[in-house]
């Protein structure tokens, strides 16, 4: 049923799926890192503020 032989279209199909997968991975990793970084920063600074008051 799953026929992965694309004949002459192989390059195009693999390229399209490959680029899509790459972009998704990049967007996901970047977004998660962005979020985690600022969460850390915010919590650190909050701890500093609490320590001072």
């Amino acid at each position: 049923m799953l026929d992965l032989d694309f004949g002459k279209y192989e390059g195009f199909i693999w390229a399209a799926y490959g680029i899509s997968a790459l972009v998704f991975v990049l967007l996901t990793v970047a977004s998660l890192r962005f979020s985690a970084h600022w969460k850390r920063q915010a919590e650190q600074l909050k701890a500093q503020e609490d320590a001072r008051s």
Binding site: G7, I19, S20, L27, L45
Partner: protein, 228 residues
């Protein structure tokens, strides 16, 4: 914040499930008698194109709310949508090219849809550039919101103008979706992939909004600490 903590992973999981199902159905479907196997590209091109527009609509609504209600969360939402929208738009352009080359023999054609997507990509770049070029965050937020609304009005005009231009040149071939009516064997995986992409956008958007909110809290805390 509490909503996004469980909603983001939920949307992410949903996206993965939908994508697996959609792709399985898509690849086990028979070859389209006109397009052969290249129809498989449709399953990632059409969702990307739809999401590029959807992300813009989200950005537009968030910008409108940001201008009218001056709510920081609306602005955070608009800012977070931009890079995602740009990513989807770029994907739509690239996959469209890779689909067009074997199908219609050309990497690019100046039809209404493709040109509008290209202009949309330029808009996303302009939006992100304007954000980073202005140092004052409040000003950057409002300027970007104005830009978003101007662009929202302009995009249909662009689409329409290219349509008009193409109609002058009697029936230039326009990239079709693969036939006037789509058979269910293709339609179902396509819809699943569109939903998968939307869920993925939802997940990533929430993640970025959370990050943006934390960034503002960190900024505020930093300036409070600096003052003491």
């Amino acid at each position: 914040m509490a909503f996004s903590r469980w909603a983001a992973p939920l949307f992410g999981g949903l996206a993965v499930l939908l994508a697996i199902t959609g792709l399985w159905l898509g690849f086990t479907a028979p070859e389209d008698y006109q397009q052969g196997d290249t129809v498989r590209i449709m399953f990632i091109h059409v969702p990307a194109a739809w999401l590029s527009m959807f992300a813009y609509i989200c950005l537009g609504i968030a910008s409108f709310l940001s201008l009218v209600f001056r709510h920081a969360l609306a602005d955070a939402a608009a800012k977070s949508a931009a890079p995602l929208g740009a990513g989807f738009t770029a994907l739509a352009l690239v996959t469209g090219s890779l689909w067009g080359r074997p199908m219609w023999g050309t990497w690019w054609v100046w039809d209404a849809r493709l040109t509008s997507v290209l202009v949309l990509f330029l808009f996303y770049l302009a939006y992100m550039a304007l954000r980073s070029a202005l140092d004052d965050e409040t000003k950057a937020a409002r300027a970007c919101a104005i830009l978003a609304l101007v662009g929202l009005v302009n995009l249909p005009v662009v689409h329409w103008s290219v349509n008009w231009w193409n109609s002058l040149h009697q029936g230039v071939t326009v990239f079709a979706k693969g036939g006037p009516k789509m058979a269910p064997v293709f339609l179902v995986p396509l819809l699943l992939m569109v939903l998968a992409y939307m869920a993925a956008f939802g997940a990533l958007w929430l993640v970025r909004i959370r990050g943006e909110v934390w960034r503002r809290r960190a900024d505020a805390a930093l300036s409070r600490l600096a003052r003491t």
